[in-house]
Amino acid sequence: MNEEEMMEEKTEIEEVSDTHREEVKQPDNMEAIVEGLLYVVGEDGVKAEQLALAIDKSLEDTKIILENIQHKYASELYGIELVGYGSVYKFITKKDVFPYAQILLGTAKPGTLSQAALETLAIIAYKQPITRIEIEELRGVSAEVMLRKLQARNLIKEAGRSEAPGRPILYEVTEEFMDSFKLYTLNELPDLPEYKQEEENENLFE
């Protein structure tokens, strides 16, 4: 697509949103509007960029609004909180609510992930993008079935192909993974432990 076409498309989008917005007067408290939108999107969540378009504000302003809401709901007066794991914002209940939800609605199914799934996910999250062979080398077991299962659960996705011979598929984690493990960015992953040979041990043999 050349530049001219891009410009054209852009103005088209603007026109559409303008007609939608004609009668809508911007209320004073956009925070309340955003709060309502967050309620509407529910578990699907919404990105700051999408919100900014909907409320016709800059991305920065939108992020400030989100931060304010987040701050407000952090108070113990509220039973829900606003999270932005993997840059997707959504309301979720605070963890103290759960035991009462179980009484109200009956026993919940425990969320499960096998040890094998966890290890595979950990390797992908720390080393992504990564090929199946690299994962197998690290865990010493075949990863094919596990990768397919994790893909079906939408925790990992394909991310192009490696330049290595055979151009193997590369894998990386998804937004769903970030949400499931309460991560805003991958930088929040805990540091990998370092193992060092302890020099003092040698003294024991003296």
């Binding site: 209940t93 290890e119 990998l192 432990p193």
Partner: protein
């Protein structure tokens, strides 16, 4: 899937070796390969005695251990004295340490996972926001996994919109019959229609599943084409093979 026996809860040969090293109190930085190899073999024998199949992965690593043992008995070859030659023992230790890192960190990840599982959210409020008209402009083919994901979502939504009641009924509806029913109903359906429309005449999960199987068959035969939008709604149009 599959079952695990108490004695077999290892995630693979490296996990087993780490367990043996721990159990025998071996120093991983000064690994006694002889003890490790003997214990490893003893473990594989024990598995066989229990008539459990030893997975090939365990045998692959066994060859590494045995290779090391046999090499020690032979005089060193020239290439093994060069700088960039990595001793198989060093290589194994490096792999064990690397594996242990991810094993350890996965425990920390699991804690956040469990915590997040207990924090609930409500589904998208969708009822008044159906954009059927837009569909023609965004035809995307999904793969079966997309369809599966979308189907999960549909089932979850339906579960939420229905009261809790349990009844036992026996109905025999085959996917083949269902395909005929759907084909008949499609005569009156618009160009584009949603999965929800197709299951309007279903009362239970069994019928949803049969409908889902029917449309999988119909999609395979290119009688139907499906599209999954950003909200993971499934939409259908008539396929290339639609007479």
């Amino acid at each position: 899937m599959g079952f695990e026996v108490e004695t077999l809860k290892f995630e693979g040969p490296l996990d087993l070796m780490l367990h043996l090293i721990h159990e025998q109190q071996l120093d991983i930085f000064d690994l006694d390969m002889e003890v490790l190899t003997d214990q490893y073999i003893a473990y594989l024998h024990a598995m066989e005695d229990l008539q459990l199949e030893v997975e090939s992965e365990y045998l692959v690593e066994l060859t590494t251990l045995i290779e090391y043992k046999s090499k020690k008995l032979l005089p060193k070859r020239g290439d093994e004295l060069e700088d960039d030659y990595e001793d198989p023992k060093d290589r194994l230790v490096r792999r064990l340490l690397e594996y242990q890192k991810y094993k350890e960190v996965s425990a920390a990840l699991y804690d956040s996972f469990v915590e997040r599982q207990d924090q609930l959210s409500k589904p998208l409020s969708l009822d008044r926001f159906v954009k059927e008209g837009d569909l023609d402009s965004q035809k995307v083919e999904g793969d079966p996994y997309d369809l599966l994901k979308a189907m999960n979502k549909v089932l979850r939504r339906l579960q939420l919109s229905r009261p809790l009641d349990i009844k036992i009924t026996q109905k025999e509806l085959s996917p083949e019959e269902r395909i005929l029913q759907i084909k008949a109903r499609m005569k009156d359906l618009p160009e584009t229609f949603s999965f929800e429309t197709l299951i309007e005449d279903c009362d239970d999960l069994h019928e949803y599943v049969i409908t889902f199987m029917a449309i999988l068959d119909m999609a395979k035969d290119h009688y139907l084409a499906f599209t999954i939008d950003d909200n993971e709604n499934i939409w259908f149009t008539r396929g290339t093979n639609h007479e």
